[in-house]
């Protein structure tokens, strides 16, 4: 339906100039004679017929009819509603077709006479409109947006024996209607293998199989379920499923693909949450706002990692072009909104970034309202500790640092005195003072600095009073800063070995991982020139300054001043080098306890970071020096006064005072070093964002109105308006959204999660598009069952384990997967003696996709389960849980990372695959061939392919070869080296069953002529091994 558009375009005639001819009110339908209720009678009419063109998204002709003030104000051509005067209201003229060129709505069905009468009556009655300033909502009729009901399961008279729990009643009801039935139960050996892989992702041991097969007690199956659900392996299995949807990655992707060394905290959080059966509503809330939920816990903080555990374009965020940077950020926000919408709501809110959603009732404005919720979330890492822990720790550290700084200032004051006297002696007649006193100074005749002691690295040497950096890789690195440094001056007396080099720095101050730094850099972007280097060039400018010509070995005095007003000034030999400038990126604070100083290296993790040459002296000032001070400092250039002279210049009192302060510092520093660092995790950082604006067509150069945080109006039973101002605190927005999301009246999360669990048990969902419950997604095959599960889920206190219990207990789940089992049963029960293949054909014809679940669908193991199963059966699996990921690759760092997968050997690499470092740019070929998705792709359902590359992987991959040998070794050991028994053991380990006579015979022959390893290789390659039935 299209609306009033054309008529109200300013280019066209307005009602005032009446070029469309005089309006004859007599031609209008008479007003209805009843009292009109806006909400009941008018709003739905406007909503259905007008809002597509005159609503939140589009306002053709400048007109909006979904909100009171806008509607009464009118469009570009003026008012269309004149309260009390319907005959003069242009809205009525248009819908009644009195302006023949512009019938409204222009397409589709016109309004009926009755509707126009009603509209007239409403206007005549004063056009009353509820005064809350916003549109009245109408429930959308899409299935997934209806409240969750708890339907009664269908009842059966004849088939009660087939029904274990209500799930079976729902399933059977559709089967019976289609002339099908449930298949008989699978055998117990098949069942325990199926259940083990499903719940813990590992095969059962032969002992476990035996015990279960032998246990004929009534509760044996239930006990098995409970044992598996209680296993810590359960969380590893189901956590991995969650990580697929969460697009969990342990590297950034894009250009640099840097590793996220501590992203694993979130992986462990997910595993823990499943193991603890954390209520799913809490689980959702933590992943949206766990870092601001009271009481603040480390657990909650880590939970919020979901928002940022996808890829991040560091280069794009750091580049000079503002428009492109903004686009990069918008892409980042779309990723965040996608993951929230798809994971929890099964809605593709992200499709409304450039225009209102093409299928679902989500307006473009709503996209930006949700964006406003998350606008303060940025990528990055932060400490993981509860508020109380953090506060106590910080107070302690602050006190220690204050004391150290106090003692340091005593040392600095005394040494400064000594310096001045010694320097004055060296330069008799010099009038000015020999320069300012730095926060820390490094000279290399002896260590004079106690603020930030350091270490020589990579072959750096101290010779003849200079730090010699003879080759790439040599540099000097200090201990962490004892206190925060913000405005500052970097200073160095440096002699580059040659002027062809580029990219190295004389002195640099950097964050712990080197991603943030400021440095005196030589020849990086422009040959032969000095610059103020910085992470991502954020504070760097090419300077209009002369090229360096100094001969090798000659000292140059370089200084860069970073002022509180964020201006940066570079000096060479005491005079300005280029003009001072103010970068777009703010002044950096380098944090005590983590940041440090480097001499001879630009920053950790950078390409071409090293300076070759010599450094005679370097200094860090904790303030911005004036140009006079810089000049003075240059004046004393080369006056790297030896420590001995400084000390000699002191009197006894001073020396004693200095010794006491030094001893104090030493003791305090030891205490400080003993304070454990708070673990950091890739949780993202937070800022207070500017008010969010709608971007027309999603274009960053076309900002529209400011929007406030909110939920989706389509979730009818909840208020989408959070009542927050456009500048509401960042935390408030996410807290409100978390509440809105996890409210039990929100029908989507419970349905979506119940369906995910179902999907992962059967390989097919009741809704086959698990992250899309919108109009373009699939419809549920069993809507009542889905609702029944969702209702039970909420009633259970959002217990995921309850869902598992319901599902795996059902007869539906326990069915045989064999097609002929069903046929056999049908033959028996209905006395049909058809040829078997015809019956198979019939079953396949009726429901080839097994949508109705007339058998259990056989499924290929996922990549991780294949690898874990190989490790489990070979006996080499290392079940160490949690912590940093193992890294089965070699990494090349340029500054970008390149990962070369390597089959590394050792217990660490025998951990479960969920603990593998999951990087973007280097895929692991064997896992890849088994459809392990790109970590950056939100993957609610994995592909299942069978390819020659997969076969080659299992055939030749060294991992498989090695574990085939381990399996053989294990089987022999467990069978006291009796070959026939070992074959039986290997079969039981790998396939969960003993070999048939034929198989034994054949395998024995193979083992004898070759080796048991060869038989084990065949077992690990077999279809039966990689499939669950």
């Amino acid at each position: 339906m299209v609306g009033l558009a054309a008529v109200l375009c300013p280019r066209l005639s307005s009602a005032a100039d009446s070029s469309a001819g005089p309006v004859d009110p007599a031609r209008l339908p008479v007003p209805a004679a009843t009292t009109i209720d806006f909400t009941r009678d008018i709003q739905p009419l406007l909503s259905a017929n007008c809002e597509k063109c005159h609503g939140a998204e589009k306002q053709k002709g400048g007109l909006r009819l979904d909100a009171k003030s806008a509607a009464l104000k009118g469009g570009d051509d003026g008012k269309v509603i004149v309260p009390g005067k319907s005959a003069e209201s242009r809205l009525i003229h248009l819908v009644a077709g009195l302006e023949p060129d512009k019938p409204m709505p222009p397409k589709g069905e016109r309004l009926s006479l009755e509707q126009i009468s009603r509209l007239r009556a409403w206007i005549d009655q004063g056009a009353p409109w509820p005064d809350d300033g916003k549109a009245v909502r109408v429930r959308n009729d899409h299935w997934s947006l209806q409240p969750v009901q708890r339907p009664d399961p269908p009842t059966f008279v004849n088939r009660k024996s087939q029904i274990v729990n209500p799930i079976d009643a729902f399933i059977l009801s559709r089967l019976v209607t289609n002339g099908l039935a449930l298949s008989p139960f699978a055998g117990r050996a098949a069942l325990i293998r199926r259940l083990s892989f499903d719940l813990i992702g590992l095969p059962p041991s032969p002992t476990e199989v035996d015990a279960f097969v032998a246990d004929k007690s009534a509760g044996a199956y239930e006990e098995l379920i409970e044992r598996l659900l209680a296993s810590p392996r359960y969380g590893e299995r189901w956590g991995r499923h969650w990580l697929d949807v969460a697009r969990y990655t342990e590297s950034q992707g894009f250009e640099y693909d840097r590793l996220r060394d501590n992203a694993w905290h979130y992986r462990d959080y997910v595993i823990r949450s499943f193991n603890d059966d954390k209520p799913y509503d809490r689980f959702m809330k933590e992943q949206i706002a766990g870092d601001v939920l009271e009481p603040l816990t480390g657990e909650g903080i880590v939970g919020a990692s979901l928002l940022v555990c996808g890829p991040w374009d560091e280069a794009g965020n750091g580049q000079a072009n503002v428009t492109q940077r903004t686009i990069t950020r918008e892409e980042e926000m779309e990723d965040m909104i996608s993951v929230v919408g798809q994971t929890f709501l099964g809605l593709t809110i992200n499709c409304a970034r450039c225009h209102s959603h093409k299928f679902d009732p989500i307006s473009q404005e709503e996209y930006y309202r949700v964006k406003s919720v998350f606008d303060g979330v940025k990528h990055g890492e932060r400490p993981v500790a509860s508020m109380a822990e953090t506060r106590a720790r910080e107070q302690r550290l602050a006190a220690l640092r204050k004391d150290i700084a106090g003692a340091q200032s005593i040392v600095a004051r005394i040494e400064s005195e000594g310096w001045k006297r010694a320097a004055a002696q060296r330069r008799p007649g010099a009038k000015e003072l020999p320069g300012p006193t730095p926060f820390a100074r490094w000279t290399f005749d002896a260590t004079t600095n106690f603020v930030m002691p350091g270490k020589l690295k990579g072959g750096a040497k101290i010779e003849d009073g200079r730090l010699r950096l003879a080759k790439d890789g040599a540099f000097y690195q200090t201990a962490p800063l004892p206190r925060d440094i913000r405005e500052k001056t970097l200073e160095a007396w440096v002699a580059p070995a040659d002027l062809k080099q580029g990219g190295g720095a004389a002195i640099s101050i950097e964050s712990e991982d080197g991603s943030v730094f400021d440095a005196i850099v030589f020849g990086e972007r422009q040959p032969l020139k000095w610059t103020a280097g910085s992470g991502g060039f954020e504070r760097t400018r090419d300077l209009d300054a002369p090229q360096e010509t100094s001969p090798p070995g000659a000292l140059i005095h370089m200084a860069i001043v970073y002022r509180a007003d964020n201006s940066i000034a570079v000096f060479r030999n005491g005079v300005p080098y280029g003009k001072p400038y103010t970068p777009a990126s703010p002044l950096q604070t380098y944090q005590s306890g983590s940041a440090r100083v480097l001499l001879g290296m630009r920053h950790t993790g950078g390409g071409r970071p090293f300076l070759t040459g010599e450094i005679k002296q370097a200094a860090l000032h904790d303030r911005a020096l004036s140009k006079e001070e810089i000049a003075a400092s240059f004046q004393v250039s080369g006056l790297a006064v030896p420590q001995a002279e400084i000390l000699a210049a002191l009197n006894d009192t001073e020396r004693a005072e200095r010794d006491v302060a030094l001893a104090q510092m030493k003791a305090l520093r030891e205490v400080l070093n003993g304070v454990k660092p708070v673990p950091m995790s890739y949780v993202g950082t937070r800022i207070q964002p500017a008010p969010t604006k709608l971007l027309r067509r999603g274009d960053v150069t076309l900002p529209g109105d400011v929007v406030t945080s909110g939920g989706l109006a389509a979730v009818f039973d909840l208020e989408p308006e959070f009542g927050l101002a456009a500048d509401a605190p960042e935390a408030q927005r996410r807290l409100k959204f978390a509440e809105w999301l996890a409210d039990a009246r929100n029908p989507l999360p419970a349905r979506v999660m119940a369906n995910r669990v179902w999907h992962l048990h059967f390989g097919q969902g009741l809704v086959s598009t698990p992250s899309d419950f919108g109009v373009s997604g699939a419809r549920p095959t069993h809507p009542e069952l889905l609702d029944w599960l969702a209702a039970k889920f909420i009633e259970s206190g959002w217990s995921v384990k309850t869902l598992h219990r319901l599902i795996v207990n059902s007869a539906t789940y326990r069915q045989s997967s064999a097609i002929d089992d069903l046929n056999r049963q049908r033959r028996d029960s209905r006395q049909i003696a058809n040829h078997e293949s015809e019956i198979i054909n019939e079953a396949q014809r009726l429901d080839a996709d097994n949508t109705l679940l007339w058998r259990f669908p056989p499924r290929r193991l996922e990549a991780e389960a294949v690898r874990d199963a190989v490790l489990a059966v070979s006996g080499r699996i290392n079940l160490e849980a949690g912590g940093p990921s193992f890294r089965p690759f070699d990494a090349l760092k340029f500054p970008a990372n390149a990962f070369m997968p390597v089959d590394k050997i050792g217990p660490e690499f025998n951990r479960r695959t969920v603990y593998r470092m999951n990087v973007n740019s280097g895929k692991e070929p064997l896992l890849d061939a088994f459809d392990c998705p790109d970590p950056s792709v939100k993957t609610p359902r994995r592909g299942v392919t069978t390819t020659p590359l997969q076969a080659l992987g299992l055939m030749n991959n060294s991992f498989v070869q090695r574990h085939a040998a381990h399996l053989a070794e294990r089987a022999l050991k467990e069978s006291e080296n009796d070959l026939p028994r070992a074959i039986r053991t290997a079969y039981r380990l790998a396939l969960g069953r003993a070999p048939t006579k034929e198989e034994s015979k054949r395998a024995l022959a193979a083992a004898k002529s070759r080796s048991l390893t060869n038989v084990c290789w065949a077992l690990l390659n077999s279809t039966e091994f990689v499939y669950v039935r």
Partner: protein
């Protein structure tokens, strides 16, 4: 739901598909494009030729096993019919990483000489990655006209210039991003983000393969190093994994990972093991009739065994004539091994590989190993051109002389161009530049010696016939007989396309 077009090609199958049906099928092995037809073909190789090469490498072991089972007979290849008559059957792409300067190669701008040393004004926000543009810099190379078509090209690429009359230049390319990886991702997948299927994966999905014994989509990385983003550039994204690009290690005796039978396993033993495995898998499939995936697994081992021969055969350049080797410059170290990849590409194309992507340049390095001439454009481009020029020209020439250019589409691309002004004051380098650059095509279905579109007087903006990356992709698909709006795959709410919601075929360049 209408997900029951079981044996149709994905093109047809997905056209009217309700979301996500076939992926959900337990027989997904067959449904998602895994090769399960009765047997494979060796269309461009005779069986005798195939056998003649069995001695080469360890692949022979598995082939002997196959032959012992007498299953090495030919049948229809598992390729899918296109939407309409295709001009091209296969594609080879040279991708030059880092951003080749259009101003110093193919887009002659005399105005730059006049403007040299002046400040460029009136172009709006600076588009460079690093900002701080200096003065306008004229091309660091001489330009002159080449061929009968009179194409203006610089002295940087003399061999490519020699092919001028075969090339179809697009001077009005427009990239969405000025940042390497997003721009490269866009060139490869249509999107600036990680995780979208690459063009090769779309082609594999849409057209299948003409030779099941080789991957449909082969990637030949630069011997000097991988491109930034690595495998993200040839991922299948959300398409089934069998469509992803397979990177070849072109200097290794094992061109793809896990191809060779481990050295410590004797041939006879492996043959016997393969027989043992085959009986196990066959019995299992027979015991579970109706599950197509089980039969597909049996078949996948047969194909794997074939690949053990066909890949070493295809990548072995020994049988090439000396003249051919010389043509590509195999005798010349200055191209850093890139010549091998170009020659190998021709062999792969001959054998039915659908899409061969050859990267020229990798990521970063010091000195740089790609075209990212920030610091000193001439120094950088001189070095890169020495690797690229002759082998690329040789490939075009070789395809042509073998008649293969008739139905092979040759694509030369880079992620963006470079700025008319220097990067920084008094610098001899150029910054990234997304709003006008040049790519060229050659071969099947495109005009020869032709120039399409134009940049403005200094090569800053597109002046006429803007070609976006989706337009570029739409055209490539069109030449392969695919309607880019109909090649779709449902993923998380959207029927995804290579061209997103954009793209129109560049009619003007079609022959």
């Amino acid at each position: 739901m209408s997900g029951k077009h079981k044996h149709a090609s994905p093109l047809i199958r997905n056209a009217g598909l309700r979301p996500g049906v076939f992926l959900n099928d337990p027989r997904a092995g067959s449904e998602t494009g895994a090769p399960v037809s009765a047997a494979s073909a060796v269309p461009l190789l005779s069986r005798r030729h195939f056998l003649a090469n069995t001695a080469h490498g360890l692949g022979g072991v598995a082939l002997a096993w196959l032959l012992s089972r007498d299953q090495a007979h030919g049948a229809a290849p598992s390729s899918h019919p296109p939407h309409f008559a295709a001009k091209a059957k296969r594609v080879v792409q040279i991708f030059c990483c880092g951003g080749v300067s259009h101003l110093d190669t193919f887009d002659y701008k005399p105005e730059l000489e006049r403007m040299h040393g002046k400040t460029l004004e009136g172009k709006g926000e600076n588009l460079g990655f690093f900002g701080q543009p200096g003065k306008v810099m004229k091309s660091v190379y001489e330009f002159r006209q080449h061929g009968r078509s009179g194409a203006w090209m610089s002295s940087l690429l003399p061999h490519v210039a020699g092919c001028a009359d075969d090339l179809c230049f697009i001077h009005s390319m427009y990239a969405k991003s000025n940042n390497h990886t997003p721009a490269t991702f866009q060139m490869n997948s249509g999107f600036t983000l990680n995780g979208f299927p690459s063009m090769g994966a779309w082609l594999s999905y849409g057209l299948g393969t003409e030779n099941e014994n080789l991957p449909a989509f082969v990637v030949l990385p630069d011997p000097r190093g991988l491109i930034a983003g690595g495998s993200i550039n040839w991922t299948s994204g959300f398409l089934p994994a069998n469509h992803q690009g397979v990177p070849f290690r072109t200097n290794s005796r094992e061109p793809i990972v896990d191809l060779n039978t481990p050295a410590d396993i004797p041939s006879k033993a492996r043959i016997a093991d393969m027989n043992l495995l085959a009986s196990m898998n066959r019995e299992f499939a027979e015991a579970h009739p109706g599950d197509g995936a089980f039969a597909a697994r049996l078949r996948s081992y047969e194909l794997a065994a074939r690949m053990q021969s066909s890949i070493p055969e295809a990548t072995n350049l020994d049988s090439e004539s000396d003249a051919t080797k010389k043509l590509y410059g195999l005798d010349d170290d200055s191209n850093k091994g890139f010549s091998r990849n170009c020659l190998m590409a021709r062999r792969l194309l001959e054998r039915g590989v659908r899409f061969v992507q050859i990267f020229n340049g990798g990521s970063f390095g010091s000195p740089r190993i790609n075209w990212d001439g920030h610091e000193n454009l001439k120094e950088n481009h001189d070095t890169q051109a020495a690797t690229m020029d002759r082998p690329v020209a040789a490939l075009i020439h070789d395809l042509k002389q073998r008649g293969m250019l008739e139905d092979t589409l040759f694509v030369w691309a880079t992620e963006f161009g470079r700025s008319p002004s220097t990067q920084g004051i008094n610098s001899p380098g150029r910054d990234h530049h997304p709003t006008a650059f040049t790519c060229f095509l050659a071969g099947a279905g495109v005009k020869k010696g032709f120039h399409y579109g134009a940049s403005d007087e200094v090569g800053y903006f597109v002046a006429e016939n803007k070609v976006t990356v989706p337009d570029f992709h739409a055209t490539i698909l069109h030449l392969l007989g695919i309607d880019h709006e109909k090649l779709t795959f449902y993923h998380n709410g959207i029927n995804r396309r290579l061209t997103d919601v954009h793209g129109k075929v560049i009619e003007g360049i079609l022959a």
